[in-house]
């Protein structure tokens, strides 16, 4: 188990980036579904 503090920061930033991408995809998914329902 690496104890380097910097590793925790890199992991945290990576998780925040992934969370951002995930939320964006969920939003886009909802938008597409609304458009499909409107058709």
């Amino acid at each position: 188990m690496p104890a380097a503090e910097s590793l925790v920061w890199v992991a945290a930033v990576t998780i925040v980036i992934w969370a951002g991408v995930f939320v964006y995809c969920l939003g886009l998914d909802r938008r597409v579904r609304n458009l499909e329902d409107g058709e």
């Binding site: 380097a4 590793l7 990576t14 995809c25």
Partner: protein
């Protein structure tokens, strides 16, 4: 949460676990500076998804040439767009690794040059699409170009880096055909490959669905 959307949350959780495992489950790799080798858990799946996307681009382009369905053209464009994005991500993560290991972001290594050429080839695909205003002509030309572009891909990704001496670490399955990776690292890498593939198909499906709605709307306006 509907039944249909469960897999999205599973994918979200899966990639969170992969990120955690990449930093805290996989051991440090020997022969690399600091923790730089951990980038492999993101860099390799990004490169894999780029190759996968270019394969999907080829299939959709061939389908377009056979059936002239505008949705196939949209599928091809979506796949190429995602392939380009993941190629850029693979290049950026590769450059970060290069900075730590070799002291410079760019070393004119055969792998760096071949991915740069591949990026230019697929960037030209979009330049071509922008340059042709007529939709049918644009789709036909893009499909033909995509087939030609794909021919270069295996050569640039798999052949060139193996012919020339390279700073790049050995691939996971090396030239001797054996697997050179600690088992926990291999598990995380496989998990990441699965997660990134899922992410690609999610993004791809979203964009194709959006294109389908746009096409239906345009057809309605035209009729």
């Amino acid at each position: 949460m509907t039944k249909k959307s469960v897999w999205k949350w599973v994918l979200g959780a899966w990639l969170l676990v992969v990120i955690w495992a990449a930093f805290f489950y996989a051991p440090s790799a020997k022969g690399f500076k600091g923790e730089s080798a951990r980038i492999v858990f993101f860099h390799v799946p990004q490169a894999w998804v780029a190759v996968l996307a270019f394969c999907v681009n080829l299939i959709a382009s061939i389908r377009y040439m056979r059936g002239h369905d505008p949705l196939d053209d949209a599928r091809a464009a979506t796949a190429a767009r995602l392939g380009l994005v993941f190629s850029v991500l693979a290049t950026v993560t590769g450059s970060l690794f290069a900075r730590v290991m070799w002291g410079s972001f760019w070393n004119w290594d055969p792998r760096e040059v071949s991915i740069a050429i591949l990026l230019l080839i697929y960037a030209a695909y979009f330049a071509l699409r922008e340059a042709v205003p007529d939709e049918e002509r644009r789709a036909s030309l893009s499909a033909a170009y995509a087939v030609l572009a794909f021919v270069t891909m295996p050569f640039l990704v798999f052949v060139v880096p193996r012919i020339y001496w390279s700073l790049h670490p050995d691939t996971i399955i090396n030239v001797r055909g054996s697997l050179d990776m600690e088992s926990r690292m291999f598990q995380v890498l496989m998990g990441s490959l699965v997660g990134f593939t899922g992410l690609f198909f999610w993004l791809y499906t979203l964009d194709v669905r959006l294109a389908r709605v746009r096409l239906a709307r345009r057809r309605r306006e035209e009729s």
